[in-house]
C-alpha cells in the first residue's frame, strides 16, 4: 500500500528526469520554426540544415580532438592514481588523493578562472591546449573512481604469482593486470570523452578562435531562427551519448565481473 504510493512517485520522478530528452526529438522533427506547441508537420529539414553549417563541422572536429586527447591523458593519470590508492600505502595518501579528486566538487567556473589567470599572467594564448589542460583536470577524478573499482576487485595474488614466477613488474602489469582491468580502462576513456565533449564553461573561458561544440552551440542559442537546428543537433548528441554511456556501462560491469568482484551499480 505504502510501496504503491512510493512506486507511483518514482515513476513521476523518472518522467521529470526524462522530460527534456523526450521533448527534444519532437521539436527536431517538427516543421514549425518556433520551438513551441502545437506541433506542425513532420520534417527532416533541420538535420539537412545542420549538414550545411561548416562552422559547426569545424567545432565538432575541434571538440573531437580535445575529447580524445583529454580522455587518453585523464585515463593514463587515472591508472596511476587508482593503482597507487588500491595497491600501495604511502605517507599523505588521503590528502594527496583528496586533492586529485578535488575538481569533482570544485565549481567548474573556479577551475576555468584559475587556468585563465595563469594563461593571462604567463602571456600564453588561450586555445585548444588550454581547454585540454582543464578537461584532463576534471576528467581524471571520474577515471579514478571507475578504475579504483576495477583495481580493487582485482585479486592481488594473481600479480604476486606472476612475479614469483619470475616476471618483471612491467611484464606483470602488461600480462596480468592490464588484461583484467582493460574493461575499466575502456569505460574510463568513454566517460572522459563524454564529459569533455559536453563540457561548456571551461571551454567557454579558454577556447580561442576555434570554438568547441558546446561553445558553438551556446552561440547558436542566441539566434531564434537557429533553434530548430539546435534541437536536431541535440537529438543527435543525445543518441550518441546514450550509446557511448551504454557501451561504457557494459565494459565497466564486465570489468568488475572479470576481476571477480560484485557490482555495486553506477559510476560515481
Amino acid at each position: 500500500m505504502k510501496a504503491r504510493g512510493l512506486r507511483a512517485y518514482v515513476w513521476v520522478y523518472l518522467i521529470f528526469l526524462y522530460a527534456p530528452i523526450v521533448l527534444l526529438p519532437l521539436f527536431a522533427f517538427n516543421s514549425g520554426s518556433v520551438i513551441a506547441f502545437p506541433l506542425a508537420d513532420f520534417t527532416t529539414k533541420w538535420f539537412v540544415e545542420l549538414s550545411r553549417i561548416s562552422a559547426l563541422h569545424a567545432a565538432v572536429r575541434t571538440s573531437l580532438f580535445i575529447a580524445v586527447v583529454s580522455a587518453v591523458l585523464a585515463t593514463t593519470l587515472g591508472v596511476f592514481a587508482a593503482m597507487a590508492s588500491t595497491r600501495a600505502r604511502f605517507p599523505g595518501q588521503r590528502g594527496i588523493m583528496g586533492f586529485i579528486m578535488l575538481p569533482l566538487v570544485l565549481p567548474e567556473i573556479i577551475v576555468a578562472v584559475a587556468l585563465l589567470v595563469v594563461i593571462l599572467r604567463l602571456g600564453l594564448g588561450t586555445g585548444t591546449w588550454a581547454v585540454i589542460a582543464g578537461h584532463v583536470l576534471i576528467c581524471t577524478p571520474f577515471t579514478i573512481a571507475i578504475l579504483r573499482a576495477a583495481f580493487a576487485s582485482l585479486d592481488a595474488s594473481l600479480e604476486e604469482a606472476a612475479q614469483d614466477l619470475g616476471e618483471s613488474r612491467l611484464a606483470t602489469f602488461r600480462l596480468v593486470t592490464l588484461p583484467l582491468v582493460i574493461p575499466g580502462i575502456i569505460s574510463a576513456l568513454l566517460i572522459s570523452f563524454t564529459i569533455s565533449m559536453d563540457e561548456f564553461i571551461i571551454a567557454f573561458f579558454l577556447t580561442g578562435t576555434e570554438p568547441t561544440l558546446p561553445v558553438y552551440l551556446w552561440s547558436m542559442l542566441r539566434f531564434p531562427q537557429q533553434l530548430p537546428a539546435v534541437m536536431a543537433l541535440g537529438t543527435i548528441l543525445v543518441v550518441l551519448s546514450v550509446l557511448l554511456i551504454t557501451v561504457a556501462e557494459y565494459f565497466r560491469r564486465r570489468g568488475i565481473a572479470r576481476a571477480g568482484g560484485q557490482d555495486s551499480g553506477g559510476f560515481l
Binding site: 510501496a3 512510493l6 512506486r7 518514482v10 520522478y13 523518472l14 528526469l17 526524462y18 522530460a19 527534456p20 530528452i21 521533448l23 521539436f27 518556433v34 513551441a36 506547441f37 587515472g78 596511476f80 597507487a84 590508492s85 595497491r87 600501495a88 600505502r89 604511502f90 605517507p91 595518501q93 594527496i96 586533492f99 578535488l102 566538487v105 570544485l106 565549481p107 567556473i109 573556479i110 577551475v111 578562472v113 589567470v117 595563469v118 593571462l120 602571456g123 584532463v136 583536470l137 559536453d198 561548456f200 564553461i201 551556446w218 542559442l221 539546435v230 541535440g234 548528441l237 551519448s241 546514450v242 557511448l244 554511456i245 556501462e249 555495486s264 551499480g265 553506477g266 559510476f267 560515481l268
Partner: protein, 297 residues
C-alpha cells in the same frame, strides 16, 4: 652507486612504489590546480590597468568593493540562497527514489535502475537547460498543456526568467548527484537491524525515523555537499532561464574577466565563492563525523 641502490630499495618498498605511482597525477594536479588557485588568490590583491597589464601593489580594495557594493553582496547572497534551495529540493525529491531502488527493487535489477537514473545526466547539459526554457516558457509545454486541459486561460508568466526556474532546472541537472550517495548509504544498512526494530514492536514509520533515517544520514549529507558546491558556481542555468533577477555569482565573474577587464575583482569574487564553499563543506563534514561517531559512541 650507493645512491642508486638506496633509491632502488626505496622504490621497491611499498610506500616508495606508491609515491612513485601517485606522482604523475599528483604533479599534474599541483601544476594545473594548486598553482592556478594560488595565482587567483594573488591576483585578487592586484589592480588591472590594461588588457594584460596589472599593478602588482597588494590591495584589499576588491574585497572591500565585493562586500560593500550592494550589487555584489546581493549576487553572493542570491547565489547562496539559490544553491541552498536547490540542495533542499533536490535532496528531498531524491531520497524517496534512492529508498525505492534500495528497498523495493530486486537485487539483480538495481544496477539497471541506477543506470536509468544516470542516463539523462550524461546528455548535453546546454541542451537540457535550454529545454527547461522550452518547457517553462510562455508558449511552453506546461502552459500549453494547462491551457489544453482548460485549467488556465492565460499562460502563466511566473514559470520562466526567475529564481523558481533556476531552482527547477538545477534540481533536474543534479538529481543523480543526490540519488547516488543516498542510495549507497541505504544499501549499506544491515537489513537485520530493521527486522530487530520490527520485532521489538516499532511500527513502519517509527522504524524508518529511528533506524533507517539515522543510518542513511551520512549519504544525505554527502548528497547535500555534492549538490550545493557545483550549483553555487553554475553559469549556464541562471543565464538561460534566470532572467535579470535570477543571475548568480558565476555570471558576474565571467563578465568581470572577459567583458569588463577587471580580472582582479573577478578573482576576489572567485576567492570569496571558494571560501564560502569550503566553509559549507567543512561544516557538513564535521556534522557527518559528529553524527557517525555519536552513533557508535
Amino acid at each position: 652507486m650507493s645512491i642508486g641502490a638506496g633509491l632502488q630499495r626505496k622504490l621497491r618498498s611499498k610506500s616508495g612504489a606508491g609515491l612513485l605511482l601517485i606522482s604523475p597525477p599528483a604533479l599534474y594536479a599541483a601544476a594545473l590546480l594548486a598553482v592556478p588557485l594560488g595565482a587567483v588568490l594573488i591576483m585578487s590583491f592586484w589592480t588591472q590597468t590594461g588588457i594584460r597589464d596589472f599593478d602588482m601593489t597588494l590591495t584589499l580594495a576588491h574585497y572591500r568593493e565585493a562586500f560593500a557594493d550592494p550589487l555584489y553582496r546581493q549576487l553572493l547572497l542570491r547565489s547562496l540562497g539559490i544553491a541552498g534551495a536547490v540542495t533542499v529540493v533536490t535532496v528531498v525529491l531524491a531520497f524517496p527514489v534512492a529508498y525505492f531502488v534500495s528497498f523495493h527493487v530486486a537485487p539483480n535489477r538495481k544496477a539497471l535502475w541506477i543506470f536509468l537514473i544516470t542516463i539523462p545526466f550524461w546528455t548535453s547539459y546546454l541542451i537540457r537547460v535550454f529545454l527547461w526554457k522550452v518547457i517553462l516558457g510562455f508558449n511552453g509545454v506546461v502552459n500549453s498543456g494547462l491551457q489544453g486541459i482548460g485549467l488556465i486561460d492565460e499562460p502563466l508568466s511566473f514559470l520562466l526568467y526567475n529564481v523558481n526556474a533556476v531552482v527547477i532546472t538545477l534540481a533536474h541537472a543534479y538529481a543523480p548527484f543526490a540519488i547516488l550517495p543516498i542510495y549507497v548509504a541505504l544499501e549499506k544498512i544491515d537489513r537485520s537491524l530493521l527486522e530487530a526494530a520490527q520485532d521489538l514492536g516499532e511500527n513502519a514509520v517509527m522504524r524508518f525515523l529511528r533506524v533507517t533515517l539515522p543510518l542513511a544520514l551520512p549519504g544525505v549529507l554527502a548528497a547535500i555537499l555534492i549538490v550545493f558546491i557545483p550549483t553555487i558556481g553554475d553559469y549556464v542555468t541562471p543565464r538561460l532561464v534566470g532572467g535579470p533577477d535570477g543571475l548568480m555569482i558565476a555570471n558576474m565573474i565571467h563578465t568581470l574577466f572577459l567583458r569588463l577587464n577587471n580580472a582582479p575583482l573577478g578573482a576576489a569574487l572567485s576567492v570569496i565563492a571558494m571560501i564560502t564553499v569550503a566553509i559549507a563543506a567543512l561544516a557538513l563534514m564535521l556534522l557527518t563525523r559528529w553524527i557517525t561517531t555519536g552513533g557508535k559512541r
